[in-house]
């Protein structure tokens, strides 16, 4: 009567997916993450139809309506020596500067959404590039061994020994003034591809080394010997034996790297060597917000909170994916 005896095996992927769907943490974090992404992608809709502002145009002498009264966006101080101007704070009115204005009179809420678009794009984009490249290199290095392995390994060592932030900052400092020119390929100085590529490049060893380790372990296993024994070509072995066994590890890395890369991008933008104006990202908005920390803290706190929420969701998702794909986890009954 035991159902497992008669039901056909579902295979590791379907099992993992089923586990994932049953895990409420995974579902919840995935849902929140998708929600955040969706809202950020709708940034143009919000800016144009709801808030009626252009979040990339300075509006220093502009006005808005609060509680029926027209107020300037940047109000000069009228008391004391009359120094300084202060942007308006949160109005909690989606049509009129929901979270207030920043130093340039721009709508903080609209910029938050646009910034989210860029932060997510850079985080997820660089994670994808990083994982794919790292997986390839890790597999090649682990499988073929010999000189290729030595060279690639040494290459990983060099990149990884270079302190992550220092390498990223150095590359940014240099490339941001002049852009990147690799033969026919030109990447302009203000392009978003620069942070994506730099961050992806810097984290390749972080993913490639574990992948390589996994491939090394696999190479010694019987089923690989068997494939070689029956005359399988390298390509076939890689495709049918190695990659499917490496894929789970890479899949686990994906959300984790997305979170790490998002945080790195925010740090670089905070140091002014990440995303460049007029583009916005959560990191640049925090940077802007630091200049308003004492008067309008919401400008710095809001993007920080968004980063925390998104990174938490991605981390939880990564944990759940790891539990789902790791057979031993079922033994532990890990949450």
């Amino acid at each position: 009567m035991a159902p497992s005896a008669t039901a056909p095996a579902r295979g590791p992927w379907r099992t993992a997916l089923a586990d994932l769907v049953r895990d409420w943490t995974a579902v919840a974090s995935f849902t929140v993450f998708v929600l955040v992404v969706a809202v950020c992608l709708l940034a143009p809709v919000y800016a144009h139809y709801i808030a009626h502002t252009d979040p990339f145009q300075s509006n220093i002498s502009g006005t808005t309506v609060v509680n029926g009264k027209t107020v300037p966006l940047l109000a000069p101080t009228t008391t004391g020596l009359g120094l300084g101007v202060t942007p308006i704070g949160p109005t909690w009115d989606v049509h009129h500067y929901f979270l207030g204005a920043d130093n340039q009179g721009r709508d903080v809420m609209a910029r938050l959404l646009y910034g989210g678009r860029n932060s997510l794009m850079i985080g997820v984009g660089s994670a994808l590039i990083c994982c794919i490249v790292a997986a390839l290199l890790g597999v090649i290095s682990g499988y073929f061994g010999g000189v290729v392995d030595t060279v690639l390994n040494w290459f990983f060592d060099v990149i990884w020994a270079f302190p992550v932030y220092l390498l990223a900052i150095s590359l940014s400092v240099v490339l941001l003034t002049n852009g990147l020119r690799l033969g026919p390929l030109t990447v302009g100085a203000g392009s978003l591809w620069l942070p994506v590529l730099i961050i992806a490049a810097v984290y390749v060893p972080y993913v490639a080394r574990p992948v390589r380790g996994q491939v090394l372990a696999l190479r010694g296993r019987e089923f690989i010997h068997a494939s070689i024994g029956i005359g399988g070509s390298d390509a076939r072995i890689l495709r049918r034996d190695v990659l499917p066994n490496v894929a789970p590890m890479v899949l686990v890395f994906l959300p984790l790297m997305a979170a790490i890369n998002m945080l790195t991008e925010a740090a670089l933008s905070f140091l002014s060597v990440g995303v460049q104006p007029p583009n916005a990202s959560w990191g640049t908005i925090i940077n802007d917000g630091l200049g308003l920390l004492y008067t309008r803290p919401v400008v710095a706190i809001a993007p920080g909170l968004m980063i925390v929420i998104t990174a938490v969701m991605l981390n939880l998702l990564g944990d759940s994916v790891r539990s789902a794909l790791d057979p031993k986890a079922r033994l532990r009954g890990a949450a």
Partner: protein, 580 residues
């Protein structure tokens, strides 16, 4: 902040250019003639010079904060206001600027020299008498040997102004060629027995007294090695000496035990027993520190978001002073799109100067300008070619007109890089300018660069900078300081970091007018100023730059500190603050 270094640079080039014209005739001993200039004095916060020294307030430690160190401590090389504010209390030259508040701070007074020099031989020979009895902070007595050695050292250490200020001394040309063996014994003849020092120049130079008053001409012990001393303090004759210097942590000055006041005008006794300047905090944190009483003064420009509370809650500790200075946006007239006159005029029409004033801190800290010479400056005439609705002063931008001009110029859609300093205020100004350029039809991109580098970066033509934001601070009132230095053909040096005519503007007609004005300065200052006013108008018709606003300086001090004095040369007189 860029301005102090510009001020110093300004002195060099301005004096160089003024040399040609301000000419002949007698001893140029005191203030430059600046007739009819209504230099509006600071808004009530710089008290007139304290009458005499008040020993009751001597003592205590003054704690200054700055975001970063300012490079070498060597007074003959350092070119920053940050340290010049400290050098004025620790080093002396033969002459010095009067250390007091107000307009008198531009007067030159005798310092290590006993009296103003006797100028003879058609302005080519200056005779000084060295004061006896002065000692360096290491106990060594000051002798004529030290004076000669110090001038030779200017060349040995390749001081930035060696070739521009002091090349007029006899023997300097050889020194410039082979600095290591510099010998000025023919140019500076010293008699140790009588203490007489005679300086021979190759040509008359009425600006020479100023050149002797700047820190590059400080008199140091003859035993000081002939190379940049970097962070190793050099003994000086001033009221304080540098006790220690770690560019990553702090700089300490203590009272010079061998100092006795010989001229309160040139080198007054200081009040604090110790002056410490610490580095490493962000400007926001520095302001918080002063508010909490953990520090006494912030060197760096104050962040805009704290101005509100500083001007209200801490009003009694905020000191606002007028400066004659200008923020402006030079446009490269030699490369697209701003090699097109209509494009440049469009930018002038489009910029909302009152918005920029808001960014800087509001109308109590800045005012919009529309001419090259700031208001209150000799030669300034109210006129504005680029304001909506016309008029003599700026009132509003005209975006429609600007867009139309851009379309007519055929430059619409081009990419424009705006190069600004990466500090808070300048970056905000840059973001605004970038937004305006986008509005009128360009694809504008902002490029913030470290303040340490930006000023030289925008001067180098190899970097192909199209538009940038820069500031210019006067050193003493003369229209030539602004117009001639920044816009003459002679100030263009392609491919170098020292091409101060950032716009690359070279108009033969206007150049000729400037030469005529410089010549007229020798006979009639009033007439010359009228000519400068006309040149200003002619320049603005060509619009090589977009003048933005004229700023004021604000100093924020702690409750511990009083007796704030503002000198136009050294700004806040650091050693005259009372800490007790």
């Amino acid at each position: 902040m860029k301005h102090p270094r510009i001020a110093a640079a300004l002195v060099s080039v301005a004096l160089l250019s003024a040399t040609a014209a301000c000419g002949s005739g007698g001893g140029a001993s005191s203030a430059p003639s600046a007739p009819g200039t209504s230099q509006s004095s600071s808004s009530g916060s710089s008290a007139p010079a304290a009458a005499g020294y008040n020993p009751a307030h001597a003592g205590g430690t003054l704690h200054l904060v700055a975001n970063a160190a300012a490079g070498t401590l060597d007074p003959q090389i350092n070119y920053t206001l940050q340290y010049r504010q400290l050098y004025q209390a620790s080093f002396d030259g033969l002459l010095a600027f009067h250390k007091t508040a107000g307009d008198a701070s531009f007067t030159v007074v005798p310092d290590l020299a006993a009296a103003m020099p006797t100028v003879t031989d058609g302005g080519k020979t200056y005779t000084f008498q060295l004061r006896p009895g002065i000692k360096f902070s290491n106990g060594q007595p000051l002798t004529t040997k030290d004076v000669v050695a110090s001038f030779e050292r200017i060349f040995k250490v390749s001081s930035p102004t060696a070739g521009t200020f002091y090349d007029g001394i006899v023997g300097a040309t050889a020194c410039l060629k082979t600095p290591a063996t510099c010998d000025l014994s023919k140019g500076i003849v010293a008699d140790p027995a009588t203490g007489a020092i005679v300086i021979h120049l190759t040509a008359s130079d009425p600006e020479f007294p100023y050149k002797l008053s700047v820190p590059h001409a400080s008199i140091l012990p003859a035993s000081t090695p002939g190379k940049d001393q970097g962070s190793a303090p050099i003994p000086g004759t001033g009221a304080y000496y540098f006790a220690s210097y770690d560019p990553n942590r702090a700089l300490t000055m203590k009272r010079n035990p061998f100092f006795k006041v010989w001229s309160a005008d040139a080198e007054p006794q200081g009040y604090p027993d110790e002056i410490i300047q610490t580095f490493g905090l962000t400007v926001e944190d520095e302001v918080t520190a002063v508010e909490n009483g953990q520090a006494d003064w912030v060197y760096d420009p104050l962040p805009a978001d704290r101005l509100g509370e500083i001007g209200t809650k801490y009003e009694s500790r905020a000191h606002v002073n007028t400066l004659t200075a200008m923020f402006y946006a030079p446009m490269n007239v030699n490369i697209p799109p701003f090699n097109n006159l209509k494009a440049r005029q469009a930018v002038n029409w489009a910029i909302d100067r009152s918005a920029m004033v808001k960014i800087y801190g509001g109308s109590n800290l800045a005012s919009p300008v529309c001419t090259f010479l700031p208001p209150g400056f000799p030669g300034h005439v109210d006129s504005c070619d680029y304001t909506a609705g016309g008029g003599a002063t700026w009132s509003a931008p005209d975006l429609a007109k600007a867009k139309q001009l851009v379309t007519e110029s055929g430059t619409a859609g081009q990419t424009v890089g705006v190069v600004v300093q990466s500090d808070d205020v300048n970056k905000q100004l840059g973001e605004y300018l970038q937004s305006v350029l986008t509005q009128i039809g360009y694809k504008a991109v902002l490029k913030p660069i470290s303040p340490n580098i930006q000023f030289t970066y925008i001067q180098n033509t190899n970097n192909k900078v199209q538009i940038s934001i820069s500031s210019w601070y006067q050193d003493y009132p003369a229209a030539s300081d602004f117009l001639h230095v920044l816009l003459s053909c002679a100030s263009i040096h392609p491919g170098t970091d020292a091409s101060i005519n950032i716009a690359g503007f070279c108009d033969k007609g206007i150049d000729g007018q400037m030469t005529a004005a410089l010549t007229t300065e020798q006979s009639s200052m009033t007439q010359a100023n009228t000519m400068w006013g006309q040149i200003d108008h002619a320049v603005m018709a060509q619009a090589p730059v977009a003048p933005l606003f004229t700023p004021k300086l604000i100093d924020f001090t702690s409750t511990k500190v009083s007796n704030y004095e503002f000198s136009k040369q050294f700004y806040m007189l650091v050693d005259q603050l009372w800490v007790k």
